[in-house]
Amino acid sequence: MSKSFLEVDGLSKVYPDGEGGLLTVYEDIKFSLEKGEFVCIIGHSGCGKSTILNVLAGLDEATSGNIVMNGKEVVGPSLDRGVVFQNYSLLPWKTTLNNIVFAVQARWPTWSKEKVREHSERYLKMVGLDHALQRKPSQLSGGMRQRVSIARAFATQPELLLLDEPFGALDALTRGVIQDELVKIWEETRQTVFMITHDVDEAILLSDRIFLMSNGPNARIAESVKVDLPHPRARSTIFQNPNYHKTRDYLVDYLINRSESALPGPDGTPRVVEPAKGADGSEGGTNDSNSTAKAVNA
């Protein structure tokens, strides 16, 4: 079996539950990512998505299991894995430009000042912020701050980009605009992205595959849903494709009716589902996606 770009195997996270016992947030998480993929992960609040992402980022440690990226074990944070946090995490005493410069300098310490600046400005331009270079984060709206944060992550050209509900704190209109920007910057760069979201439409717009988690505790990544929609995608036209609705119905049904008890396949990897084809791709699947899709359409 050929190794994927990122291999996650047997990951679990146990916390003390505050009453002297233990709480297994998730267990036996097993999945892989290919280079250049955009994968979203959806699951109910508290199932452990952020913890998984933090473990991938190296900011947190799993209780068991291992992560291998490019054939190397992942230990601790690294510039190879860029992170966009939900709360932006910009350094408030630096200007927009200097927040990016800070990251670019860390990535390429030998670059000249001019080169660093030019590179940083290019990425700020990609998110439409070249007019706000000298402003401090406190002078930017939430949407603009998140754009800076996205530009910072893309500017360091990590091998894997991790996004934790990057648009969770934004209003719907702003979120839409920045989703378009993310589509654009991703089409330009084709970074490998692993993103948490709770927004089904967002996941469909952006991803090649969507991981579905079961509810915690003892959460698993139960299914891997293929999004069969051509690139480049646009928010304004994507819903014209029938596959969009099939995928959306499938996801919504999962979240409403099946996330409680869903399980991965017998080998521990997520069941592969292709709602566009109207069938459950993995053998031995317990679900019937045709009937569930209807249930949501009603």
Partner: protein
Amino acid sequence: MASLNVRAALLSISFLILALGLWEMSTQPPEADQNLTEYEMLMGGVEQESRVPPPSAVIKLAWEELSNPFYDAGANDKGIGIQLGYSVYRVLTGYLAAMAIALPVGFLIGMSPLMYKALNPYIQVLRPISPLAWMPLALFIIQDSDASAIFVIFICSIWPMLLNTAFGVANVRQDWINVARTHELGHFRTALTVILPAAAPTILTGMRISIGIAWLVIVAAEMLVGGTGIGYYVWNEWNNLDLASVIFSILMIGVVGMLLDLALGKAQKLVEYTE
């Protein structure tokens, strides 16, 4: 309608005129037709020293002193500028020495819970000691009054800086530390480029408190050790019963203290940020 600033300034000036007027009137010499005791007549009128000098006398003296602040006519007769200069020099020397210790140690305590726990008991015991209580020990060990005064400044200004640095460093938002970690910054670069600017406003607050305390303490310290400095000057003029000079130097202590505070306030503005 005049702006708030203009109205405030007018009101301030009226208060000043009112206060000076009341002061001037309450310090008028008694009426000439009042019956004088024999002793008073012998002394040439009412005893001069028993009265607080009127503001006009203080202003006249201030004018003289400030028009030649740096004259030096022997040990007990130096201009106010020279005396203040000595005090400021001692304060700054002790303060900078305290800074050189407090900032690194504060960083260490703030970053390491182990060091915090290990050093905290000493800090808690040493901090409430009045800085002047160290004076005898300092005089005995250092054997030099000037250095002892500086030591007292050092010991009194170290605590606010130390504690604020430790507090500021310990409370840097984890998000920003995570930014440093995901960008693979080493410990030193993290401390310099993330923790220091993040904690700077808290540290500067400590430094501002320290300079205030140092300026309070130097007057008392110089009264004890004598020789030079504004504290010594006040005490010396009191011994000379020259109350106009005493009042004038009290005002100068206030002015210099205010300037020191303003300088630190400016520095504080420089490192401030809004989240």
